[in-house]
Structure formats: C-alpha cells, structure tokens
C-alpha cells in the first residue's frame, strides 16, 4: 500500500481525511515507471464536488486505457488543509500514488465555472508550479485547461500552457503521441507547445498577441507566427455511441454530490434558449444508442454497487428512446436500484415514471420557466408556456404531488417591472390550480417555491452582447418580486428565495473578461481569495479592493451593451454556431420572436457542418 503524502497527525486533524487518501473502488493502479506520460487530472474544487463530475470520469478512464499514460487525480485541498500545506510547505500531490503534482508531465484542469478560478491558482501554488506559464521550466508539468469555461479562456490565458477547446474524446491521443515523439527527440517545452498549437482544438495562449483600442476593447488578436492557426475550432465527438465511456467509474468513500451512477444519454440540446451556453456550444444534439446505454447502465451498477442511477442530459425528455431506457431501468429496480431523472419535462409520461421511481409525498416537481412573463420567455426563447406549466402542475397535483419548485432569472435583457411581477403571479396561478382540487381530495396546503438567480451573459450565446446590472439594481429587482409575492391571494403557499448579487457581478466579469483580468485573479488569490463559489469563503470586499488596485473597471465588462462589431475576447474560437446566427438570435430576442427548436426546423446555426446528430435527422 502507498505511503500517504500527509502524516497521520495532519490527516487526523483535518475535516474528512478521506478526501486525500485515494484508494477508492475502481481506482486505477499502475506503476509510474511503466508509463511515459504521467497526467494529473484536476477538478479545482473540493473532492466531493470534483468526484461527481462526469467529464473527469470519462477522461480518467480513457487516458488510463493507454498503457503509456497514467492519469491520476487532484482536487482542491479544503481551506483547513490549505493552511497546513502553506505553513509546512507541503507539495500538492495526486491521490493515486500520492506523488507531487510537480513531477507530472501534464496537469490537466477542468474549468467548469468561473468562481473556481482562484482555486486554479491555489492548485498551481500548492504544486509549486509558477503561476505564469512564461515562467515555467522543463521541470514543470504542462498545464492544460478544458471544460466549458475554456470557450472564453482569456482571463486565464497567463496561467495555462495550453487549452483544449471542446470535447475531450477526440484529440488527446494525438496530443499524447506528439508529446511522446517530441520527448524522445529531446525537444523542449517551447518546441512542443509550438507543435501542439497546430493540433485541432488546441490553443496555446502564449503564441497569440492581443492589442487593445484606447477604449479598452480589442483592436487585434493574432497568432505570433504564420504556422499557428488564427481560429481554433471546438473539438466534437460526433459518434457518441461508438466511443469511450467508463464502465467502472470511481466510487468515493465519502458521500459525493452525485452519489450515484451517472449515465449521459445525449449531448447537446435542441431547445436553443438564448441565455444558455451549453445549449449553443454542445450543438448539434447527438443521442447515444439505447442499447449502448443499457449496457453501460448495467455494467456501471454492477461495478460500483451504487443503488441509484441518474440520467444526465440538458433535456432528458428530448431523448427519443427515453421510454425504452426508463422501462429497462425500472425492470432493474427489482435489485433495489433507484432512478433519478433530472431535466424532465412535466407531462403525463414523466409523471407516470416519477410515480414509479419516487415517493410522491416527499418529491417535488421542478419547472424552469426562467422568466415570469410570456413576453420575456419569448425574448429568451424558452418554449415553456403558462398553459403547459399549469397543465403539468394540474396533472401532478391530481396525481398526489403538493410541492412545486420554480426557477427564474432576474436581470434578463429587456426585463421590465411587469416581467418581474409576473414571477410571483405565476406561482400564485399554480397554487390556485392546486386549490381547484376539492378539499377532501387534496392533502393540505401546497408549497410553491420560487427561486431567482441573476442572469450572467455567457460567451457564444445570443446574449453575449447584453449588458448586466449593478449589484443594487439586482437586489431592487428581487425586492420587487418579493413585494409582489406578498400581494398574492395564495401568498401563504408561496416561498421566494434569491441569490447573492455580489457573486453574480464577479461571475459576469470573469465570464466575458479578457487577458487584463489575469492580474486581478492573481492579486485576489494573493489576498487570500479561494473557494469563491462557497458563500462562507467568498470575500467580496477583497475582490473590490483588487479591481481598484489594478485599475480595472467592472462597468467596462458588465454594464456596456457590446456592439456586434466589437472583437470579443473569444472570437478566435469557432464553437460551431456562427456569429451571424448569434447576431440573428440577438435581434430576434429584441423583437420578442421565438425560434423553433432543432427538431422542428433547422435554423442554420452552423452546427450542421459537423455532419451529424439532429442536423441529419431532417434529411431522412
């Protein structure tokens, strides 16, 4: 058994030592001497969050299928351990072999949300890897980033040697082969990066130069050398059936956020909601074959011993083989398997399924209308109508449900006070629908919970040009909703929660930031900002100090309506969906015109050039 990197004294003095010892069921063991590439795969958040992430499980399995690669895992040490590691100068280590991250050939970091950016710096710091890519030597691992936030990698450009843009299944083999070849030829870090930059989907930020206009917007974004590509097209795994998928996922000892088997049934979404980045960057929708999914489900339940399986996709109801898959899983329920079905549309079918797999009295129905009024739902292209919601809720209430959760966003483009007030009014209408059921047939009060988050425009969405609000304005809007709720007939059955506004403002800057944001991140980390996505650690005052010290204006990033002619920091990435489609959608949003989903009609978004998925369905 491995010697642990941390002593008994440390492990017994910190919270949840199981986060740092590895040894989980289905952990891959290899002799590091037998491989030519050692890869540390990092999710820059606490273990329980990181272990729940499907992407890492896919890549961990895929990399380790190669005999010449040993992929190990790293997560962010919790602040209790962070402090000890800093005080005692302990180097960050991988879970599998408990080796220093610094000894790896690659440090891969998945970047899933903006509020983990300072945790990335924590990982580099504790690994004793220089923050700035330009200061790294042959002794340092190559730091590679992936995941949705790399669709605007610019705020992090200084800290990464390279980024992998798009889905991981396609180019890592080529990258590893290149690394082996060049290592054998005795080539150095710079020479490798120069060649890697020519691989599809690979972006090496140090090989590009950005110049700015006087007003702070980008004047030019150019590769430094003629053989380096000017645009990077996202990588995409078109055949999601005949591809790699983990059959033996890792099983943590401590309860992870996803304490269950996760089965990704399809990638992408046909809906085209205008605020949703995932709905744009994962186009086109590609379904996995139902037989492959059955086999995966069976093998994963078998190899993990999990009692629950969750179907993962952006919109499960749009998966064409859903009834067959669910019936298969319900048959497995004899073995005590539970099924969790996120992102299901509420209709007769899903209610029937839910009544079979959940305890109705305890479970709640979830709707995400995102906006309170039909007008604003048209702006954001959220197809859900009031009629559909009331019908679905009505069916559910008659089936015995009493709890409904509703998710909304405040601060969407064009939002008026009337739109805000429609949020609690919709809640009230749902409650009224409940009380239409004769008293003797219903089970006490209903409980309608409305939650609002504040909208953050994301790159590669039609709202990428949209302005945000200031913190106080967000809170004013939340107050309008809250006040209106108190006016409702069924206010005693309604509950309203809203998010913090500070974090939203910062998330906005990081999401659409440019390379100038790098210095802000570094200073914030140096001031002690980590785990910013955890409200108990988020320190807004420190962040505001840093923006001041760096002379960076939040208003420049958040409050402007960007011109559609402006060079956006992420324009060099080709995500499949064209800029002209996004512009068209931005205009249609302002005209309150709905765009049909991909199954109803092709809207020429540009993803058809990948030659597959839903785009080909129309030709049949």
């Amino acid at each position: 058994m491995n010697q642990l990197a941390l002593s008994d004294e440390i492990l017994l003095s910190i919270d949840k030592p199981a986060r740092y010892i590895g040894n989980e069921v289905n952990m891959i063991r290899k002799n590091p001497e037998d491989v030519s590439i050692r890869f540390a795969m990092c999710f820059p958040d606490v273990y329980e969050i990181g272990m729940s992430h499907l992407g890492i499980q896919i890549l961990y399995d895929m990399f380790n299928k190669r005999d010449d690669v040993y992929c190990e895992r790293v997560y962010s040490p919790w602040p209790d351990l962070h402090k000890i590691m800093k005080e005692q100068d302990i180097s960050l280590f991988t879970l599998e072999t408990q080796s220093p991250v610094k000894q790896m050939d690659f440090l891969g970091i998945t970047i899933q949300y903006e509020m983990c950016y300072t945790n990335i710096l924590q990982i580099l710091d504790l690994s004793h890897i220089p923050f700035m890519a330009t200061e790294r030597t042959e002794d340092d691992p190559l730091v590679i980033g992936g995941g949705p936030c790399t669709y605007n990698p610019e705020p992090l450009a200084d800290f990464f040697d390279l980024f992998y843009i798009g889905e991981g299944e396609t180019q890592y083999d080529a990258l590893f082969d290149l690394y082996n070849t060049m290592k054998a030829q005795g080539k150095n870090r710079q020479e490798f990066l120069r060649e890697a930059a020519k691989l599809p989907g690979i972006y090496v930020p140090s090989l590009y130069e950005v110049t700015y206009q006087e007003d702070g917007t980008i004047a030019s974004f150019q590769p430094k050398y003629p053989d380096i590509p000017t645009t990077i097209r996202k990588e995409i795994q078109m055949d999601v059936t005949d591809t790699t998928y983990p059959h033996k996922p890792l099983v943590p000892f401590i309860k992870a956020t996803q304490d269950r088997v996760v089965l990704e049934i399809q990638r992408g979404c046909i809906r085209g909601c205008r605020f949703c980045q995932a709905g744009m960057i994962y186009r086109p929708v590609r379904e996995r074959d139902v037989n492959m999914l059955k086999e995966c489900a069976h093998d994963m339940l078998e190899s993990t011993g999990h009692e629950e399986i969750s179907l993962s996709s952006l919109s499960s109801s749009d998966y064409s083989q859903l009834p067959e898959l669910i019936n298969y899983l319900i048959d497995q329920k004899g073995n005590g398997v539970n099924i969790s079905l996120p992102s299901l549309r509420i209709d007769a079918f899903s209610l029937d399924v839910m009544s079979k797999v959940q305890d109705i009295r305890k479970s709640s129905l979830t709707f995400a209308p995102e906006a309170g009024s039909q007008r604003l739902r048209n702006v954001i292209n959220k197809g859900l109508t009031e009629e559909v919601i009331l019908h679905g809720a009505g069916l559910a209430f008659e089936g015995g449900w009493q709890k409904v959760k509703l998710y909304f966003m405040l601060g969407l483009p064009t939002e008026t006070e009337e739109d805000m007030k429609e949020i609690p009014r919709l809640g009230d209408k749902i409650a009224r629908r409940y009380y239409e059921i004769p008293k003797e047939q219903r089970n006490g009060k209903c409980q309608i919970t409305m939650s609002t988050s504040f909208f953050v425009p994301k790159p590669f969405t039609p709202f990428q040009w949209a302005p945000m609000c200031e913190k106080d304005e967000y809170l004013r809007r939340a107050k309008i909703v809250n006040t209106e709720m108190k006016e409702q007939l069924n206010r005693k059955s309604l509950k309203y929660n809203w998010h913090e506004a500070d974090v939203t403002v910062l998330e906005g800057v990081l999401a659409r930031g440019d390379r100038k944001i790098g210095q802000v991140l570094l200073k914030a980390y140096e001031k002690g900002c980590i785990f910013d996505s955890w409200s108990e650690f988020f320190d807004n005052d420190k962040w505001m100090e840093v923006f001041d010290e760096c002379g960076i204006s939040i208003a420049f990033y958040n409050l402007r309506t960007r011109s559609t002619d402006e060079i956006l920091p992420w324009d060099f990435i080709d995500c499949g969906v064209t800029k002209s489609f996004l512009k068209r959608e931005w205009e249609r949003a302002q005209q309150e015109v709905v765009t049909p989903n991909c199954r109803m009609q092709c809207n020429a978004c540009g993803a058809a050039r990948f030659g597959g998925g839903v785009c080909l369905e129309h030709q049949n």
């Binding site: 008994d8 017994l12 069921v25 000892f253 401590i254 011993g305």
Partner: protein
C-alpha cells in the same frame, strides 16, 4: 438467514469513518452479489448492522457486521466473492451463519481487546519492564477516577470496573499496551481514555497522536443468551450448561467472554 461477517481494517482505511464504512459495505454486498435481504417499504434498505463503530484513525483485526440474506453460498465462496470486491485495507476474515433468532452483534457487544502502541516517529518513554511495573501499580489502585466530559455535563467515574485486563506486551520489538475494556452501547470505554489516565498516573505528558490504537477482537459475555425466542433461549441455555460442565470436568476455568464470531458456524 442471519450471517455474521468478520473483517479487518488497516492501512489508509483507518481514515474512513464508521458511516462511510457502512455505505461502503452496502455497495460491496451488491458488487459481490450477496443475496442480502432488504427491508419492506418504499425505499428498501439492506438489513445490515455493525457490532461496534470504530473511530477514525483506529485499525482493527476484529470488526463484525451482521446481515440478513435470502440465500447464500458457502462461507468460503462468500468470503472469496467479498474479498474480490474489497479495497486495500479491508479484508473479510469470516462469514458465518448465526443461529435462528440470533440477537444482533450490536446488542451483544460487551468487551473488546486493544493493542495500543507508540508510532515509530514518537519516542517510547518506557522499557518493557518499566511499563510492566507501572501498569501493575496503576491497575492495583483501589479505584481509577476520571472526569468524563460530555457535551452537557462532567461527571467523575471509576474506570477500574470497566478495565477487564491490562498488561504490557511487546509489539515490533517495543513495549506496548494490551487492554481488554468494556465496550458496547450501555457503557463504552475508549482505550485512549485509559492510556491518558495511565500517563497522568506516571506523570508523563500525553500526546494522543503518538498512539496507534488497534482493536484485536470484540466479545460477548459468556453469560449472555445471544438469541431471542423462548424455545431458542432454552436451547441455548442448555448448551451453555453443557459447555460449563465440560470445562469443569477438564478442570478449566469457563471463559468470561466469547468472540462474536464464535456464536456462528461456517457454511459448508
């Protein structure tokens, strides 16, 4: 049918707490295809209970859990199937069928043996002989009073009646402690409590992290009738008196405790 499983916990698994070990075993049962019985109701759970929770940081050669199964393979096959799906740091040692109407191990636990040794990176203040003498002196006290702090109150208790045995032993060529102490849901003595009090007695500063505590075995009182049901109890009582008679005939002292595993028998 009720099964009692004995396992050992060592290495890095000592950092996994009791609740997580329970969840770990639930998944193991499924992976090893043990035909474990589930409770009735909307969210059925496996019928499984553990004898005595082991604290984080403690290793053990004698952990027990009871399960109910619908059907089973032999002990050997079941042990092999379970060991196939174990992680490093947990091994299955026994898989035994319990008598019908057996009480759960949790309700039976009366005592446990511990080996407590000083970790390599700490100095050992005693030679074996010194330790023997000091422990003898400690144990010869008429009472060993300590203040037990709980969240709500403080109370003074006499440890002595709960220490069934205490002696100096040699472990890895160094002096170490052996303790047999009262364990169970009604009264439970943590071995570190005894060691701490012993160090106070010796006037040596006590560093809790210097000690590795290793549980060796868990026991039921030999006077306990470990089954429910009138008929079963009568049958067991008869068996017990026969055993006592045998011991007496051989001139042997009847043991005060049986290991929890002794109450079951191998499935062939």
């Amino acid at each position: 049918m009720n099964i009692r499983i004995k396992f050992k916990k060592y290495g890095v698994m000592k950092f996994i707490g009791h609740l997580d070990i329970m969840r770990y075993f639930q998944k193991c049962m499924r992976r090893a295809h043990i035909d474990i019985a589930y409770s009735e109701g909307f969210s059925p759970h496996q019928i499984m209970s553990f004898a005595a929770p082991l604290g984080v940081g403690i290793t053990s050669d004698g952990e027990y859990l009871d399960i109910e199964v619908n059907s089973t393979l032999s002990s050997k096959e079941s042990i092999d199937a379970l060991n196939q799906v174990m992680v490093d740091g947990i091994s299955i040692l026994e898989y035994k069928k319990l008598p019908d109407m057996a009480k759960t191990s949790m309700s039976l636990v009366a005592a446990a043996d511990y080996l407590v040794y000083i970790k390599d990176n700490y100095t050992n203040p005693f030679t074996l002989k010194e330790l023997e003498e000091q422990m003898h002196a400690f144990y010869q006290q008429p009472e060993i009073l300590i203040t037990k702090k709980t969240k709500k109150s403080e109370r003074v208790i006499d440890l002595k009646p709960f220490i069934y045995d205490m002696k100096a032993v040699e472990y890895n060529g160094k002096p170490a402690f052996f303790l047999k102490v009262c364990t169970g849901s009604s009264s439970n003595i943590k071995p570190e409590l005894v060691i701490e009090e012993f160090y106070r007695f010796c006037e040596i500063p006590f560093e809790p992290l210097a000690f590795q505590i290793h549980r060796q075995e868990v026991y039921v009182s030999s006077e306990e009738i470990p089954v429910k049901g009138e008929h079963e109890r009568a049958e067991y009582a008869e068996k017990l008196s026969l055993m006592k008679k045998e011991y007496a005939e051989k001139g042997l002292e009847f043991p005060a405790f049986f290991t929890l595993g002794e109450l079951g028998e191998d499935i062939l």
